[in-house]
Amino acid sequence: MPLYLTDDQILLQETARDFIAEHAPVSHMRALRDANDATGFSRDLWKQFAELGLTGILIPEGDGGLGLGHVEAGLVLEEIGRNLSPSPFLTTAVAAVEALKGTAHAARWFPGILAGEAVVAVATDETSKFTGSVALKAERSGNGFRLSGAKQFAHHAHAADLILVTARTSGAATDTSGITLFAIDPKSAGLTLDPQRLADASIASRATFDNVSVNSDAVVGEVDAGFDPLSRLLRAARTGASAELLGVGGGAMAMTVNYLKERKQFGVTIGSFQALQHRAAHLYSEMEVARAAVLKAQQLLDAGQDAAEAVSVAKAMTGLATTLAVQEGIQMHGGIGMTDEYDIGFFMKRARVLAELFGDTNFHANALAEAAGY
């Protein structure tokens, strides 16, 4: 399969681009932040996503979705990134859908996701840096389990209808076997959510589980074999976050290149200075390479091939390229780039959050090294 978008994918890209730029531009995010909105995203907008069919991109046609792939989901996420649109799309329509697909939970949750009513959060992180280890305990109790422990960095959990939580049912914290994935009602007794506003104005919760009782039907897949659905979830979420990073970096680069063409100093546009031209051209190159890495990972996932390493390359590379894009963005804007009134700073904040999500560049570079045996 050629490594570029098909005509159908380009059509979807145009639809998503027009829709998101019109309904959720950066000013939308700014307004939510300024209002200190407690949800952190617009439920009306989530409904509109659903009306366009976007929330069902990864849901199989048999379940009422569009039955499309990660390339298509990524096109939506890239536009979300470009516009810094607050949306539960990544956690709900990508991560959760991939984890629940083909399980008993699909029938319960896919209709709500398709309708733009249900929001799902993911709680995988237990430490400030993602390590993949799972220590939160789930002990058998009657017909179910009792969960005790803590999670953090769970976006949208405070506003979610369902939280997917990794827990340890056997073995040690770093073992891949013995993990069980649970689908949990956020209102469960003993579960305390502490929503925190992050640097980019998104809201992520710390979650404390104090003997939270769940039935055995809360298990996603099999007990002790949660690494499978978790791996599907993480591959999809990482690839999606990479696509969103492409949008953030691409948006920052476009703003910056436009500014270079407008801003005058010494009687000329600053974009005529070779020092800035070379930096902009270098940035363009990094972003292009990152874009190829993301499309490669998406295509491999969609073809059902082993994509683990390609996904790590995509997440690590978009982290590198977009970090450069937002840094050059502020520097080339000069003083105005430091003001809250101007949008470029928002791109830097969002990039930092996405770079950290589901493992940062170093985490994924290390994963590649381990896979290569060093």
């Binding site: 570029y4 290149v257 031209q277 363009y284 570079a365």
Partner: protein
């Protein structure tokens, strides 16, 4: 039922397994393992000739050229499959050739039917080795400032002047050469000539480089007669041909960033765990290297489909060469003092340090990194002059 592409893949795999000698499926160790062909070929191993001839006879040294010109006549999808199957079997490149990577595309676009029939099949079979006469002592980055002249002498031109950094001029059979045919216009006074290096008045002098090798030459022209039929493209329109060809040259050089064999010594050292900081540097390098491999695949696919930005080869050249330099810096750091031995058997005759030094030219030859960044800034980002 098997679809035609799957069928092609199976047949290609079977043919390669039968026809690619086992010795041609081992990693190359330096320049002597490269197959260049030509009138006076040098083979380090007889299998090199076998492999080149078999691939050449099938047109697979240039799989996507038309069959009429010695190519394989393969579609972009089939060409990609052939490349993938060759990579899977670790087949060596059957023919390194500036005729294939540089002149061929320009001949296909600008050549007359006679020129195509005369030159392309010989390139495809590795019978004629070409060199490139572009740079001059006073025309480097400012290539259009070149002064080598071609005077009109009725049925032929008379060429006088000097080229420099002519890769393998001393081993080449023919040269494609930029000459000045009009002094009143800079870009508009350049023409593109093809001529035999055995012509009277042509001489070459290898230049000793920091690697201890002499792949580049000074090339002198003293009243060299070139038939007018050897003009490629129109008179004084050679700059268009030159730029078109440079795009393909940059594509070729960018491929150096892909060298997979180069990664292996890195990984071997990283595995020893002696230097955790180097391990981290290698891992981060690996991220960019693998992302660039995807970029190369994307670029070729877009190019074949006519979707690539015309200036995208500049990005590929810039990124690929900088990456290759970074790779060899890591190879040297990983190699420690072993990698410094200049002539020993253990160091393969100094393969590592010499290759490391050779890569420093990657970001100079074919247009410096800075020239590529200028092109990206102006033609892709449309930043003002």
């Amino acid at each position: 039922m098997t679809d035609p592409l799957t069928q092609f893949r199976l047949e290609t795999r079977a043919w390669l397994e039968e026809n690619c000698p086992p010795s041609m499926r081992t990693p190359t160790r330096g320049e002597k393992d490269a197959i260049w062909g030509g009138r006076n070929p040098v083979y380090a191993h007889p299998d090199q000739k076998v492999w080149m001839d078999r691939m050449g006879a099938r047109g697979w040294t240039v799989p996507d050229w038309p069959r009429a010109y010695g190519g394989g006549g393969l579609s972009p999808a089939e060409t990609k499959i052939l490349r993938e199957e060759m990579a899977a079997l670790k087949c060596r490149n059957p023919l390194n050739s500036f005729g294939i990577s540089m002149l061929g595309p320009a001949l296909l676009k600008y050549g007359t039917q006679e020129q195509k029939l005369e030159h392309l099949p010989r390139i495809a079979r590795g019978e004629i080795r070409w060199c490139q006469g572009y740079s001059e002592p006073n025309a480097g980055s400012d290539l259009a400032g070149l002064q080598t002249s071609a005077e009109d002498a009725g049925d032929h031109f008379v060429v006088n002047g000097q080229k420099v950094w002519t890769s393998y001029a001393d081993q080449a059979d023919w040269i494609f050469c930029l000459v000045r045919t009009d002094k009143s216009s800079k870009q508009g006074g350049i023409s593109f000539l093809l001529f035999d290096m055995a012509s009277e008045g042509v001489s070459t002098k290898p230049i000793l480089l920091i690697s201890g090798y002499s792949p580049f030459c000074e090339t002198f022209f003293d009243n060299v007669k070139v038939p007018k039929a050897n003009l490629l493209g129109e008179l004084n329109k050679g700059w268009d041909v030159a730029k078109y060809l440079l795009g393909h040259e940059r594509e070729m050089i960018s491929g150096m960033g892909l060298g997979s064999a180069g990664a292996d010594p890195l990984i071997e050292v990283a595995r020893t765990g002696v230097d955790p900081i180097l391990r981290a540097q290698i891992a981060l390098f690996d991220v960019r290297s693998r992302a660039f491999a995807a970029m190369s695949e994307r670029f070729i696919d877009e190019l074949k489909a006519g979707r690539a930005h015309p200036a995208q080869p500049s990005m590929m050249k810039y990124y690929g060469t900088e990456l290759n330099k970074a790779r060899h810096e890591l190879v040297m750091a990983a190699g420690g003092s072993d990698a410094l031995e200049w002539e020993s058997e253990a160091s393969g005759g100094g393969a590592k340090p010499r290759a490391w030094l050779r890569t420093k030219a990657n970001s100079i030859e074919g247009g410096t990194s800075e020239i590529q960044l200028n092109i990206i800034a102006k033609r892709i980002l449309e930043l003002p002059s």
